[in-house]
């Protein structure tokens, strides 16, 4: 049996490291904070790997089915005999996979940050936030209880807020962190209402009980009879929960915070956008997947269409952006869309559960190659001191390690065999082919777009024009001059490790390990099927190569010929402007201003009026309190005499 103490250590070590760094280390040994954070994450990673090995190969499987193991559970708040908020640890294939990914990517980011953030005055604060973030995410994936997941969900939100706003001297970073916080908070409101609806009607907060009850036909019939606006309460509950997931996972239309979140330090972007925060939404849907798929398939349709639309929409925007981190941010949104719709089209159990497996597989591979892309982008920004593509070009000779690893990641995300992304994307496409042809066609176009925009990025950074620091400003030349290396070994090591993994991660036999019902799927991998997607991806790469390998006029001409569409995509389809319009023009003018008027004039007016009357009254009588003892005595005696007269003559 797994020792629950060991498993509990996985999240506990990062929180201890957070407390140690934040309370003591920041003041007494700031030099060692990075080392402490990295070592604690390393320990966590080793323990997670051991747990994962034990779970997958020794004890998790009972008669061919992976079990859900509750390693530890403590009732924390008991509301009624049925409903309680527990703190516990749930091990099942997806949570075990997630702890390995989270600790691994976080470890890579920690090692990378040792080099990247060197010389930063608030480096210890940075590492303490990283530890807090990792802790929150680990707590989230290990939750046994929907309320526990909500608590850690908010912790993830607040630590991402802290990390995005790390450079708080920059107004744009402050704005970005606020935006991320407000948008995800707004979505979390939906999540909270969803939790309340689900727990009210199913009388439980525990995941397993919830799933059992939703799948129990008798119980479910009782739920589906309660309807609201034509859908059962269960559907509403899971849809509201999905709003929370969509907020964190940056699904359309709640994606607007993600590109702005690039204001944080680049390793943070890698951590948030690769392995942890943005996949929390996917993880949440996967965690409640049996409820979605059995009890309310309508909700799954919503998940599918939002996912596929986000994937396509983000891919189109990514083709036009010029800030390399923004391209990657939209690419993340697109890939998360892939995971979402793969969950949406999946069925529960058996071979129809392919989408679920594919989604989790894509989550796994994506976190590796997207972390690599971001860390590579960080190295490039470190070298060039700019986020803009026009300041780059021809970097392949200057930064060979970054170049090779970045290329590997690009091939992986484009879905070229035998790189990691190929396998997971093929599974998703296959699942889409099996269930819904429309989704399949959109997905395959999106996959081709993916190949195009990552190679546009790649060619613009590493080929195109020759790198010439004279392009940049005078002061930057001096920094570049004594910085003519790719960065220290601590920055290159994670790139190399992740690069190797991007090549081999696709060979993990996911169909045996992670499925919707714990039973291994038969491998159904048709080589013939993958010809079309691979050809399309190659086509995307070739187009990118023609357009961007050498500096030429073609991209500009192309942009001109699609003038309206290009502009719209470049401005991210005006979603931000629409939000601003809605909030500033409609909500402020129609609700905010009247409310402010009411508050200022009616509410404040009443209070000010009362206060004014009292002030006036007290002004007029304050002379009575003269400070003269004998005046007071006169009042006293007058009063006494008055009472005496009252008692003698009027009291009958």
């Amino acid at each position: 049996m797994l020792d629950s103490i060991y498993i509990a250590l996985i999240p506990i070590i990062p929180i201890i490291s957070f407390l140690l760094i934040a309370l003591v280390g920041r003041n007494y040994f700031p030099k060692f904070c990075g080392i402490i954070g990295t070592l604690s994450l390393f320990t966590s990673f080793v323990i997670s790997s051991v747990v994962a090995y034990q779970y997958f190969f020794e004890i998790g499987k009972v008669e061919g089915v992976y079990q859900k193991i509750i390693a530890f559970k403590q009732v924390w708040l008991q509301f009624t005999p049925n409903i309680s908020i527990d703190m516990g640890i749930l091990l099942d294939p997806i949570s075990v996979m997630m702890i390995v990914i989270v600790t691994f990517i976080s470890l890579m980011v920690h090692i990378y940050s040792l080099g990247y953030m060197k010389g930063e005055p608030r480096i210890s604060t940075y590492f303490s936030f990283l530890s807090l973030f990792t802790f929150s995410m680990l707590g989230l994936v290990l939750s046994t209880n929907i309320f526990q997941i909500y608590i850690f969900w908010e912790l993830v939100g607040v630590s991402s807020f802290l990390l995005i706003g790390f450079y708080y001297e920059k107004p744009s970073a402050v704005a970005a962190s606020k935006k991320a916080f407000i948008v995800t908070r707004f979505a979390d409101l939906g999540f909270l209402i969803g939790i309340l609806v689900l727990s009210y009607y199913t009388q439980t907060l525990d995941f397993q009980t919830l799933i059992e009850r939703a799948n129990d036909p008798d119980f479910a019939r009782g739920l589906t009879t309660v309807t609201f606006m034509g859908a059962s309460v269960l559907t509403w509950g899971v849809l509201l929960v999905f709003i929370g997931g969509a907020g964190k996972s940056a699904m359309f239309p709640l994606h607007i915070w993600l590109p702005d979140a690039m204001e944080g330090p680049t390793p943070v972007s890698a951590l948030i956008h690769a392995a942890t925060m943005v996949v929390a939404g996917v993880y949440l849907v996967a965690r409640l997947f049996p409820v979605f798929s059995v009890a309310c398939p309508e909700a799954l349709d919503v998940v599918t269409y939002i996912g596929v639309f986000s994937a396509f929409f983000a891919a189109v925007i990514a083709c036009t952006q010029t800030d390399i981190k923004r391209v990657l941010a939209y690419s993340t949104m697109s890939q998360i869309g892939f995971m979402m719709f793969a969950l949406g089209i999946s069925g529960y159990g058996g071979e129809s559960g392919l989408g679920y497996m594919a989604s989790m597989f894509h989550l796994f591979t994506h976190s590796i190659f997207k972390a690599l892309l971001f860390l590579g982008a960080g190295a490039i920004i470190h070298y060039v001191h700019s986020n803009e593509m026009k300041d780059m070009g021809g970097l392949r000779k200057n930064m060979p390690v970054t170049h090779i690893t970045f290329l590997l990641a690009c091939l992986a995300i484009a879905g070229i065999p035998p790189f990691a992304g190929f396998f997971s994307k093929e599974e998703i496409l296959l699942a889409a082919w099996n269930s819904n042809k429309f989704i399949f066609y959109v997905a395959i176009v999106t996959a081709a777009l993916t190949a195009f925009y990552v190679f546009r990025l790649y060619f613009n950074i590493f080929w195109n024009k020759e790198f010439n620091s004279a392009h940049n400003h005078q002061e930057i030349i001096s920094t570049v001059a004594h910085n003519h290396s790719e960065g220290p070994a601590t920055m290159q090591l994670p790139l190399i490790i992740l690069g190797v993994l991007s090549v081999i991660a696709g060979f993990v036999p996911f169909n045996n390990l992670i499925t919707s019902d714990g039973i291994a799927l038969a491998t159904e991998f048709h080589l013939g099927f993958s010809i079309a997607p691979v050809l399309l991806a190659l086509g995307g790469i070739v187009i990118a190569m023609i357009l961007y390998k050498k500096q030429n006029e073609l991209p500009q001409k192309l942009a001109d010929s699609f003038n309206g569409l290009y502009k719209a995509a470049f401005r991210k389809f005006y979603i931000d402007e629409i939000y601003l319009f809605i909030t500033k023009k409609i909500i402020f003018n129609c609700i905010g201003k009247p409310a402010a008027w009411f508050d200022k004039n009616v509410v404040d007016g009443t209070m000010n009026g009362i206060a004014g009357v009292i002030v006036y009254f007290s002004d007029s009588i304050k002379g009575l309190q003269s400070g003269k003892l004998q005046d007071y005595s006169i009042y006293f005696f007058t009063g006494v005499i008055g009472f005496i007269l009252l008692f003698i003559y009027l009291w009958t």
């Binding site: 304050k622 002379g623 309190q625 003269s626 400070g627 003269k628 003892l629 004998q630 005595s633 006169i634 005696f637």
Partner: protein, 104 residues
């Protein structure tokens, strides 16, 4: 009418009481005010003793109360004089009108 009755004594004590009140309200010197308070208290004492003697001659409650009041008056005089001394130290005066900062 030669005999001194309760009414006579009550007239005395009432006069004493109002003389005390008048003194308390009009004198500006704090020591004099303290003396006026003593007059008020003593008029009450006379009332107690008189009622005890004329109406309930077999009991002693009135006398006991009088002794209580004398003790309390002594304590009160001690406290009042302490306050007056402190005020004098601060204001160099024992005029009641000089100690009126406790107003609005």
């Amino acid at each position: 009418m030669n005999e001194i009755g309760l009414t006579h004594i009550l007239v005395v004590s009432t006069s004493l009481f109002f003389i005390g009140v008048y003194g308390f309200l009009t004198r500006r010197n704090m020591i004099t005010m303290l003396m006026s308070i003593e007059l008020i208290l003593n008029s009450v004492n006379i009332n107690f003793v008189a009622f005890n003697n004329y109406l309930y001659a077999d009991k002693l409650e009135g006398v006991f109360f009088t002794i209580f009041i004398i003790a309390i008056a002594a304590a009160e005089a001690a406290v009042a004089i302490a306050i007056i001394i402190n005020l004098y130290r601060n204001y160099k005066s024992i005029d009641i009108n000089d100690a009126e900062i406790m107003k609005y």
